[in-house]
Symmetry: C2
Subunit: 211 residues, 2 copies
DNA sequence: AGGAAAAGTTGCGCGACACGCAAACTCCTG
DNA sequence: CAGGAGTTTGCGTGTCGCGCAACTTTTCCT
């Protein structure tokens, strides 16, 4: 479904999925989620309102989808790391590879935007994230993604997803680390997010020692 | 709001809140969430449908509320642990105190229920939890509760919730541990949940070493 | 104690949403 | 190029979520 380049068809589908997701985010950031109707999003993408619900069950889900995809890509990246690499270095590398370096900040073109616009955007995102509905779906998306990550971890460590808590604990811990890093970054963008991620992962991997 | 025995009023309020929550859970477990309307829940508790939404914004939120309260109680318990106790032992003790020992299994009376009924209940819960809507609100509830826990951890370790990632990482890790333990227990009830919790917390506190 | 104020509940109503269903349309396969 | 699987779309419907404005109950102040 996600990485399925089978037909030209699936590509188109994935394209509208992404378009819908971005449109939702953009509008929500600009006007606030409450002032965005499904109708608007559909119009923005040039598709029927009914179709929106074919892809997403709610606006929140559409918003969370980008984050979900990133997390999934990262899980996939982990799977393709050399098998003999120790777990935590592999995770860190995979995260930095697929998660932090993508320079996607906006709906399409990246480029340099003037500073005030960037601030406005970040603030908008902060407000959007604060929205209860978004929190819900975002959290759920993380949970779903962690499932996949847990499988990857299990494969790598020779543990069993159904019997051992280990893979799920690792997946969950990674999710927490990434989420916390993101949160921290939104609060203060003076430190690069990659550094925060590395730091958070290190703390988790180190057993959260009291500083 | 939660632990506010100020007036006789708040008590009553908390009572209906709990009643609504349990009623929602019970009905959802029995018939499946989709077959429970707000109207039914309200009727069960003897209150107006409109009132349900005064307490909860959705059925999912009502369901998640019990778990949220437990988590909050646990955060409170942590706050009252001796300040010189090391972090992780304090957390473990607080969890076992407030989280695992409450013998609440059903809407009210505990007692011994016959085995098949218990299994039916657990299975019902499993299905309920699997419901996307419930997953959403449950995850959100955890996130909210972790916020409080983070504050407690910060106070105990002399860190700052706004500047250090540490307290949030710890809170998140604890949440993951509890969630994973609960999940594991639902899959196989042969191991007491308290043991699973202790195990999960120990793994997290130990830096998730590959077994 | 008594009455005003604060807090909670209820009924009404509306805008929006989630989703089933079936028809129209599009792309793939042989 | 024709059959069929996969998608989009319009329509209809059952619920929601919540604002608003009475109405009732508790609390507080003098």
């Amino acid at each position: 479904m996600a990485a399925d380049p089978s037909g030209l068809r699936a590509r188109k589908k994935e394209q509208t999925r992404i378009a819908l997701s971005w449109a939702t985010i953009r509008l929500a950031v600009e006007r606030g989620l409450a002032n965005v109707r499904v109708e608007d999003i559909a119009a923005e993408v040039g598709v029927s309102p009914r179709t929106f619900n074919n892809y997403f069950a709610s606006k929140g889900e559409a918003i969370a989808d980008r984050e979900l995809q990133r997390f999934r890509q990262f899980a996939a990246a982990l799977r393709e790391r050399p098998a003999d690499e120790p777990l935590w270095p592999a995770i860190t590398a995979a995260v930095l590879d697929r998660y932090a370096l993508t320079g996607e900040t906006d709906g399409g073109s990246v480029e340099e935007v003037d500073e005030t616009a960037r601030r406005r955007w970040v603030e908008g995102v902060r407000l959007m994230i604060a929205e209860p509905a978004v929190q819900r779906d975002l959290a759920a998306a993380y949970a779903a993604a962690e499932e996949q990550l847990a499988v990857a971890v299990a494969a790598r460590t020779g543990t069993d997803v159904d019997r051992d808590m280990f893979p799920r604990l690792v997946a969950g811990a990674v999710g927490v680390a990434l989420g916390t890093a993101r949160q921290q970054w939104m609060r203060d963008q003076s430190v690069p997010i990659a550094d925060l991620i590395v730091d958070a992962l290190a703390q988790v991997a180190g057993g959260l020692p009291t500083p």
